[in-house]
């Protein structure tokens, strides 16, 4: 075990019950119990990655907490992570600190978004993520649940993104305890290009993509039970609802693997699926005139995209391919089963390679 000096304050407690109550009293938990970050467990994490505990990853808004490797490791231990999960957690933090992600607004806005952790590449099988049935959160699978929770605890304890204090989420997002999905690997019947490859990394890379999620909508495209043309029409209808259309934003569609196979077998690779939806996902100005509530200063507010005096002009719900992300996850159910649609809020997805091999 390393002898590196740790910076964090040490607390004494009699036993696990004492620690649990201490964690609640001191606000160290999002409301669910946390594990005690003993020096032994924190050092095991730090030894695994071999990085200086004092190394600063960045400042977490809005609480202005300094995210050192040590502080990140402590929260990972509290969430129940194993040491080999820490490279994933560190990469998730680094991605959220990218300016494109707009962490300050994601933590504080009234819209109440939740960062979704998307894990893809060889790491999915190496660490045993659940990418099948119950893919979102991966209930019952340690890497899914504890890495997702570690990200939440970091935002809570280092970033102080707490409702009623510095987080002003009107409703909040149910993923604000743990929100993670692992992409189904190519060798596990995912026929489409991995999400990290679409976003500039190599197929052999392991990656984390952080998506600032505003919604979580399960929907049924009817794949296998109707024509592909009608499947896309249904998907278009979901992606263009007026409640999330005052401005063109980034959207994520998670397709179940059997549906992806139906499309793929019919000659629809991911790019064709995405680009066709991009063209179809429009609504006329007359519909958009019935919406309101978003500042016209938003980057892609609909009034900036078309002639507002032409009621028949068609407004795009996404501006380019980067703003429609597509991935495959979920159980091997009939293709007509659920897919998932998630909107971004304020920021955009950031993809980072995990600089670790687990070999």
């Amino acid at each position: 075990m390393s002898a590196m000096k740790l910076a964090s304050k040490v607390y004494d407690c009699a036993d696990i019950d004492d620690f649990t109550e201490m964690a609640y009293r001191n606000g160290w938990t999002d409301g669910l119990p946390v594990l005690p970050p003993t020096e032994k467990k924190v050092r095991a994490m730090l030894d695994y990655v071999g990085r200086d505990p004092n190394e600063v990853l960045g400042v977490i808004s809005p609480g202005e907490g300094v995210a050192t490797i040590e502080k990140v490791a402590i929260n990972a231990v509290m969430a129940g992570c194993l040491p080999e999960y820490l490279p994933v957690v560190i990469t998730a933090v680094e991605a959220m600190l990218d300016k494109t992600f707009e962490l300050m607004r994601v933590q504080c806005t009234t819209g109440g978004p939740c960062p979704l952790v998307i894990v893809s590449g060889p790491v999915v099988k190496k660490l045993g993520f659940n990418f099948g049935e119950g893919a979102f959160v991966g209930t019952g699978h340690r890497p899914n649940s504890t890495i997702g929770r570690a990200v939440r605890l970091i935002l809570w304890n280092i970033g102080l993104g707490r409702p009623g204090q510095m987080s002003h989420a009107t409703m909040g997002h149910p993923g604000r305890y743990c929100y993670l999905v692992a992409e189904r690997p190519p060798e596990e019947d995912n026929p489409w290009e991995p999400i990290h490859v679409t976003n500039g990394l190599k197929p052999g890379d392991s990656a984390v993509s952080m998506f600032p999620s505003g919604t979580h909508v399960q929907f049924n495209m009817g794949t296998g039970a109707n024509t592909i043309e009608n499947n896309l029409f249904v998907c278009q209808d979901v992606l263009t609802n007026l409640g999330q259309f005052q401005a063109a934003i980034q959207r994520l569609v998670v397709v179940n693997p059997q549906a992806a196979h139906v499309f793929h077998s019919a000659g629809w690779d991911k790019a064709r699926f995405r680009d066709t939806l991009l063209k179809q996902c429009v609504r006329p100005v007359r519909d958009l005139k019935r919406t309101g509530g978003m500042s016209v200063t938003a980057t892609w507010h609909w009034t900036k995209l078309v002639d507002v005096n032409d009621d028949n002009a068609m407004v795009p719900s996404m501006i380019d391919a980067h703003h429609l992300q597509v991935m495959v996850a979920g159980g091997w159910a009939p293709p007509v089963s659920q897919c998932c649609y998630i909107t971004s809020m304020h920021g955009e997805m950031v993809t980072r390679k995990i600089d670790w091999s687990w070999d």
Binding site: P62, G63, E64, C108, Q165, M166, H168, G292
Partner: protein
């Protein structure tokens, strides 16, 4: 808030403009940044799309006046 605090620390007059619903956030963040008395201008919540253009203009001018007053107070100057 980071920008406001950084400017004030460098001796440059600054004011943080804060929409009323985010007052608590701004004040707590100012504390976290080590400047609990950071200059903040809290302006009221409104619905610009429901207000007339004249009213929106009037509100903006009122806020601008208050900004000027707060900036000048930091330099010791008077209007």
């Amino acid at each position: 808030m980071r920008d406001t605090v950084n400017m004030v620390q460098q001796g440059v007059p600054a004011v943080g403009l804060v929409h009323k619903p985010f007052e608590k956030l701004a004040k707590m963040q100012a504390v976290q940044l080590g400047m609990p008395d950071a200059p903040l201008l809290i302006y009221s919540q409104d619905l610009p799309s429901n207000d007339s253009a004249d009213l929106v203009q009037k509100k903006a001018e009122e806020v601008a006046e208050r900004v000027i007053d707060m900036l000048l107070s930091q330099t010791g100057e008077k209007k």
